[in-house]
Amino acid sequence: MNTKELENYLKTLQPDLYSFSYILIPDDLQASQLIVDAIANVLIDRRELIDRILKNEKVETEKTELNHYLYRAIYLLARKRFHQIKSSMNLNNLEAFYHLELDERALLFLKHKMKWSKDQMNFVTTLSSEEIVSILTKSRMNLSRELKDEFELGGLF
C-alpha cells in the first residue's frame, strides 16, 4: 500500500471516526480536530505499524489494527479535552444521550452503533471486561431514566 492508498483508506474511516469523536465531544470543530490529532498521534506513535502498511500489499490485519488505534487515540484525547471544556459546553441543551458520562457514551456507541465486541471495546478504552459490562448496564439504565419523560422503554432497563 502506498501513501496515497493509505490516505484513501483513512478517508473511508472518516464518517465513523467523526461520529465517535462527536458523541464524545459534541462540537463539530472539536470533533474534527480530534480525528486529525488522533491520526497525527498514530502516525508517530505507531511508526512500525505504518511501515508495515506501506511496505506490504496484503495489509487487512494491519488496517484493522490501525482503525482500532485511531479509536483508542480519539478516546484518550477526548477524555483529556472533555474535562477541560466540559464547563464551557451546555450539555443540558442537548439530547438525553449527552447527559451521560463520557465513558458511558463511548461504550454505548461502540456496543450499539458499531456492534463492537468486548475485546474491541477493551482495546479502545483499556477498561476490563467486568468494568465494560458494569458501565454498559449503568449507562442503559441512566439513558432509560433520562428518556422516561418522553416514553416508556418497556421497563426492561
Partner: protein, 148 residues
C-alpha cells in the same frame, strides 16, 4: 448455570420480567455476552421451546431498538469533510517509509539480487553443454600456451 441475581437491572421496581421461567430472568445479563458465551448458546436453544423466554426476548429486542434510536450517530457536514480531507493530505504529505524501514527494504533487495545471480550461475553450470564448451575453450587456450 450462573444466575446474575446481583444485576441491578433485575431488581428495578418497574421491570416487566416474566419470572415464570428462571431463564427469562437471565436474559438481560446476556445483552453484553459475547457471541460464543455458553449461556447465550444455551438460551438460544432453550428459547426455541420456551414461550415465556420467546416473549421476553421479543420484549428485550423492542426495548433495545428504542434505546438504540436514542444513541446518536452524528454525520459531519460537507464543509467539515472537505476540511478533514485537506488536513489529511497535509498530514500524509510527509509520510513515507521510516529511514530504518527503508534501510531494511534495501538490504532485502540486495540479498535478493545476490540470490538471483547465484541462481543464474548454478543454472549455467548445471547445463552440461556449457561445461563441455568451457573445457574445449580451456583446452585450446592451454594448447596455444604450450605451442607458443
Amino acid at each position: 448455570m450462573e444466575l446474575r441475581s446481583k444485576n441491578p437491572m433485575i431488581s428495578l421496581p418497574n421491570t416487566k420480567i416474566d419470572s415464570s421461567c428462571i431463564h427469562a430472568r437471565q436474559l438481560i445479563a446476556l445483552v453484553d455476552a459475547d457471541k460464543n458465551d455458553q449461556r447465550l448458546q444455551f438460551f438460544k436453544k432453550h428459547s426455541k421451546e420456551c414461550h415465556v423466554c420467546q416473549k421476553q426476548l421479543k420484549e428485550l429486542e423492542k426495548s433495545l431498538l428504542r434505546l438504540e434510536y436514542h444513541i446518536p450517530k452524528p454525520v459531519a457536514s460537507l464543509e467539515m469533510k472537505n476540511e478533514f480531507q485537506n488536513e489529511l493530505s497535509q498530514l500524509l504529505s510527509n509520510v513515507g517509509l521510516s529511514p530504518q524501514a527503508k534501510l531494511k527494504a534495501k538490504k532485502i533487495k540486495l540479498f535478493s539480487t545476490l540470490n538471483d545471480v547465484n541462481r543464474d550461475m548454478e543454472l549455467v553450470l548445471r547445463q552440461k553443454k556449457y561445461v563441455f564448451f568451457t573445457i574445449i575453450v580451456l583446452g585450446f587456450f592451454a594448447a596455444y600456451l604450450i605451442n607458443r
